[in-house]
Amino acid sequence: MSGEAPSPSSGRGWVSEGVRKRKRDPWRIAGNVFLTVLIIFAALPMVWMFITSIKSQFAAVQYPPEWFPRSPTLDEYRRLLLPTSEVGRDFLRYMFNSIWVSFATTVLGVVVAVPAAYAFSRFRFPGRNLLFYSVLLRNMFPAVVFLMPLFIMMRWMGLVNTQFSLILTYLTFGLPLSIWLLKGFYDNIPVQLEQAARIDGATRFQAFIYIVMPLSSPGIIATAIYSFIMAWNEYVYALTFINDKSRLTLPVGLQRFFAEYATNWPGLMAASFIMSVPVVVMFLILQKYFVKALTEGAVKS
């Protein structure tokens, strides 16, 4: 776990130390201008989302708009997050369902992807490449195309209207990139480390658990984040597979919320805001692993 902290060497780059001393480097200035514009582009929609969410419904449909609400209100947040109203109860339930589905997808994804990636990296069984390519190709199939046949299949398996149908489907969305990323990780871990451990008497499994797993933990964290975000955000399968209101996930809940709330833009924006918070916070905390994992797993030179 030694390489976990942001390494001091991350300051290296195409613009090096020497250049930085010259204060008026045009490239640097251009870069800063660009970053400023970009941050406005990235952040303004979220700012407007928040501003709208604290307006009253009337204030939201004024033209020209109120740039900042004259009488800001947290009503919509209260309504969504307090279980005193039906709306609040529904919303909290969707949220809970989303957390559960995403969490289960993530855990299962890691459990399934890690051994597969390890095998693809270490073992030399016949058909290895063919299988690996097939796994990667899964991403080439557009999800929407499979809606109907998958629905029929889930019905055969008695999974329609269960969250397991979603977990199963989401699992396969995340797997290709997870396996690919983790395989890249294992490729970079010297086989000799494991061999040394096995000479010391460890079984292959022990060597894997004590040597390989810790070294690949950034990769595992990264794939976990990736799976979680994917499951958290998926919409069209959840829309088709789940009927019961009590089992819906947030994206469909949000859509239904919108249809139900008509032009309640403040409510919709508040719901979007709440829905974004968990993943954004999680991602911001763990982003350094993400970059690190991509550097080590995806970007091999």
């Binding site: 780059g13 195409w14 250049v19 016949p126 195309v145 489907t169 490729d187 919409y235 091999k300």
Partner: protein, 323 residues
């Protein structure tokens, strides 16, 4: 896929010219490695479960006409008629054009902006972590939420962008982003780029970590200017990750659904209809499952063609490291 597995050619018995012993040999080798398969069984199993039947069913259904007044069991076999109808339909041509406009522009802009951001972020400065974090947020926001946020921002009557442009005196009336056949596509692409550039940024940021600093220093000592250092040192080192990033973006964009579906539903007047929303519309709006299946199969074929490059890019260097 016809990509041969290199391992099957190893240790070919010199004397055996016949097919039979070699076949046995493979079976033996499979048996010898039988425990290895257990590691990949869960992932391959779950993939097969979720993919094999839908692919089979889609191909099967593509040969049948399923008019809206008939139950699916009463479908009518029509051979390749559905394929012909898809290929010749004007709306499909329109959607094809839109799909490429959507995919190529989204990919190009997301990549260029992401790469530029990665370059600008690739040195130490105060607040870098915060800045990088903020720029990453659009990537993790749900597509459904993003679609609604932007639909609201672009709203033809109460949208903030339209209002700003009026307030600044750029236009007289609020700009009509989503209800206008000419502007709807650029508007949707802007949303998609907003959502995707962080992914390109983070990938390229990772790629830039692999550029050796000594080389940049050496080039500087040799008198290379910033552009030359970028072009001759940085670019060659990030070629691989560029390819991977671009391909991942291309595949994602070709498969886009949520943003156009929620923001415009393919409208107005079909101006933002892309392949996937079109297939959804044919299958669920017009209940022509046969037609939609043929459309999907055509899509598979195109995707598989791309798949070759995709797999090559993702597995580049594998043979070298473990050959």
């Amino acid at each position: 896929m016809t990509l041969a597995t290199p391992t099957t050619t190893i240790r070919k018995p010199a004397s055996a010219g016949a097919v039979r012993p070699r076949k046995l040999n493979i079976l033996q080798r499979i048996w010898k490695h039988r425990h290895d398969y257990l590691y990949v069984l869960p992932s391959i199993g779950v993939m097969l479960l979720v993919i094999a039947y839908p692919v089979y069913y889609t191909v099967y259904l593509s040969f049948f006409n399923t008019p809206p007044n008939l139950a699916l069991e009463d479908k009518i076999y029509v051979g390749l008629d559905n394929y012909w109808r898809v290929i010749t339909a004007e709306s499909v041509h329109e959607a094809t054009w839109n799909t490429w406009v959507w995919t190529l522009w989204s990919t190009f802009l997301a990549f260029v902006i992401g790469f530029a951001a990665a370059l600008a972020l690739n040195h130490e400065f105060r607040g870098r972590g915060l800045l990088r974090g903020t720029l990453l947020v659009p990537y993790v926001i749900s597509a459904v939420a993003a679609a609604y946020i932007w639909r609201w921002i672009f709203h033809s009557d109460f949208g903030v962008v339209g209002a700003i442009s009026v307030a600044l005196g750029i236009t007289e009336r609020p700009i009509n982003f989503l209800d206008n056949v000419d502007i709807v596509m650029p508007s949707l692409i802007a949303v998609n780029v907003w959502k995707e550039f962080p992914f390109a940024m983070i990938m390229m940021l990772a790629g830039l970590q692999t550029v050796p600093e000594q080389l940049l220093r050496a080039a500087q000592v040799d008198g290379a200017n910033a552009w030359q250092r970028f072009w001759h040192v940085t670019v060659p080192h990030v070629k691989g990750v560029t390819l991977v990033t671009v391909l991942l973006l291309l595949v994602t964009n070709l498969n886009s659904f949520t943003i156009p579906y929620i923001m415009t539903g393919g409208g107005p007047a079909g101006a933002s209809e892309i392949w996937i929303t079109h297939i959804y519309q044919i299958a669920f709006g017009r209940i022509r499952f046969g037609l939609a299946s043929a459309y999907s199969v055509i899509l598979f074929v195109i995707m598989m063609g791309m798949g070759y490059f995709y797999v090559r890019a993702l597995t580049r260097g594998d043979d070298r490291s473990h050959g």
